[in-house]
Symmetry: C2
Subunit: 405 residues, 2 copies
């Protein structure tokens, strides 16, 4: 069902990062569900997490460990999210870290745990621990593609992206994987994403880079407006390329940042393309707003409207629903008679009402496309915002009605 999502591109190895994936039968039989990402000593890390107040136990533990030590390994399981599981859930997350740490010969707080799957049920730690030797035996610098499979839940395709850029005459690699298809909304939108580079950078610069790039990618997508309890995104820097980034400004940083942002944007868009039940990939551009917040509010109101989303599913140019969504967006001031709306190159609304030259046939022609850009011009300022979303189909209902069966 994924909308124009190509097969995994070549995921370049990142010196200092090894990945191992196994089938630990955590929730389902014979499915890659346990991933270990091992980092060379001295690897720096940055991370952003869900803003859901009911964050999962692994999110709490990962945050805590990141504050105490530099990570030596990431431990990721699918099947169960270990969220809403109380004190037992915290114990389960810590226990998992301890088990991996003892195999690797490092401290428990040098392991960051990540979980994704059903909320509210206990993590089967015994099965997870029993699966660790399999993942450790598989550790390899070329393990990215397997790991991209290993973190999937309702995703139909694995998601990865990689870039190589030249900095100071040397090659810097940035490679990332992500998973996520439902319960997708900003404020970490991604569920799980792991990106690594062989550049060297202190964690403060990595953090700045990751937050800025997420604001142009993961924090600009929505599938259903639901924010997960487990969203986590980690950027690791091994330093093995010999290229050092010491300031978050200047040309060198710009080249590096652009590459990181491109990787994140490709992953974020892949999540929308593979969204639960998606048949259309929709870009929403809101321009000439008084503020970025206004533009985002209008864009998200459109992106979250079930009526707009079902119209896209039906390829029905029912543009009145887009107009109605703009009209209910909670922005301080809307000059309705200055609003114009385009579907790709077709103007549907001008000065707040139906464009005179608009015909149903022209609207139909755009709506039949698998990728559509909705452009809303608020006519009242200089700010703009872009985000990506998808339609609402029968398959979304089916997938989410049957998720636990």
């Amino acid at each position: 069902m994924a909308v124009n999502l190509p097969p995994l591109p070549e995921l370049f190895p990142v010196a200092g990062i090894r990945l191992g994936t196994s089938r630990a039968q955590i929730r389902k039989k014979d499915r890659r569900d346990l991933v270990v990402i091992e980092c060379a000593p001295g690897t720096q890390a940055a991370a952003i997490f869900t803003q859901n107040r009911f964050c999962a136990a692994p999110v709490t533990v990962a945050r805590e460990h990141l504050g105490q030590a530099v990570p030596r390994a990431l431990l990721i399981n699918t099947g169960f999210a270990n969220a809403g599981t109380g004190i037992e859930g915290m114990d389960d997350a810590r226990h998992s870290c301890t088990a991996l740490a003892s195999s690797l010969g490092c401290a428990s707080n040098e392991v960051l745990p990540f979980s994704t799957g059903v909320i509210g049920e206990r993590l089967p730690v015994e099965r997870l621990v029993a699966g660790l030797p399999g993942s450790l035996a598989a550790l390899s610098e070329s393990g990215w593609a397997e790991a991209a499979h290993g973190i999937m839940t309702t995703d139909t395709l694995p998601k990865g992206s990689a870039r190589r850029v030249q900095i100071d005459g040397k090659t810097v690699t940035i490679t990332g994987i992500a998973k996520g298809a439902g319960m997708i909304c900003p404020n970490m939108a991604t569920l799980l994403a792991f990106i690594a580079t062989d550049a060297a950078a202190p964690s403060s610069i990595l953090q700045q880079c990751l937050e800025a790039a997420a604001n142009e990618s993961f924090n600009r997508i929505s599938v259903d407006g639901d924010t997960s309890t487990n969203d986590s995104c980690v950027l690791l820097a091994t330093g093995k390329s010999g290229v050092e980034l010491n300031v978050a400004t200047g040309k060198t940083y710009k080249v590096f940042y652009a590459a990181v942002r491109d990787v994140l944007a490709e992953l974020a868009q892949a999540i929308v393309r593979d969204a639960e039940g998606a048949t259309k990939f929709i870009t929403i551009d809101v321009v000439q707003g008084a503020s970025q917040a206004d533009c985002l509010e209008v864009a998200y109101t459109i992106a979250h409207s079930p009526l707009v989303k079902t119209a896209f599913f039906a390829s029905d140019p029912n543009w009145g629903r887009i107009l109605a969504a703009v009209g209910r967006a909670r922005i301080p001031k809307l000059q309705v008679d200055r609003v114009s709306i385009h579907l790709d190159d077709v103007c549907i609304v001008r000065n707040g009402s139906r464009a005179p030259e608009y015909t149903e046939m022209r609207g139909q022609a755009v709506m039949a496309r698998p990728e559509i850009c909705v452009r809303v011009d608020l006519g009242g300022g200089t700010e703009s915002a872009r985000l990506w979303t998808c339609d609402l189909s029968h398959d979304y209902v089916t997938i989410n009605a049957e998720y636990r069966t």
Copy 2:
């Protein structure tokens, strides 16, 4: 598909109000689509309208006319919403009023227009005007049930409610009808509702009564979070019972207000029961919040979550999704370890995590019911809020994907 929505109750005539319904072929053949509600001279009125900034032409005209004169008639058509239609739409609404006014021998601004249906297409005024004699010929004090049919769009059943109360030894009647099944969210949730009473009251008291009652009914329901461009709710008071309400306080007013509120609440709940594709009627109670705004924000976040709604559709006690929705609600402060959640009498979350005594079987037993109450205790205050919503089913997608075909 409607959830436990009984047939229309007896809709008591209201002295001074006559209703006539006809088939004017406005958009579909052979369908009741044109309603005239005639009010006796001296009838007072109150009204509330959509807060969507792209309000429809009839909403603008009705607001304007209400400010200028006391209404002698309401003119309601289905098929086309006359929204997003610019200056032509305004002309069409005014023209319709003029046509009815000349038949009734009153001024144009004594007619209030209301439209519901497809947004963005012109109202076929000629067909509407041609249908007026039919509606006028049918005018009758017992025309409420026909009118309830005449204002339906995607509704599967007509909606009406009536009460008789004794005030000062006399009988006061309150009768109302409503339509609405999709694009339903507060800030006038109802699309269209028309309520009349034979009590006498100045419009200021009627307005106060209507706003308060709507806040306990129409403004407490959500089907899909989309606010219509055409929502309108009118309360008419003919004074024919001889009972006068001169202040909005005291015992007499209380009895009257309670009856009006009951009529509105019954209509509002009927809209949710008959919501597009609904298979479950859900009451959401949020209690012990710091403010009513907090309670409403939490309640609406649950009510608007596609993941919660599809879980209800599947009768799946996937309570983690409710927890996740509470966790992402935008309230200033949430003490997660004080939150408890019940599904009817079954406690699923206590102190922020799964209740120890909870079993899947107990959750399943509740979820199988057609009517379910979700009770969220925030454990941090004394305020509360209640609203009503429904599930998200395949039929919602089908109905909205095929709406214009």
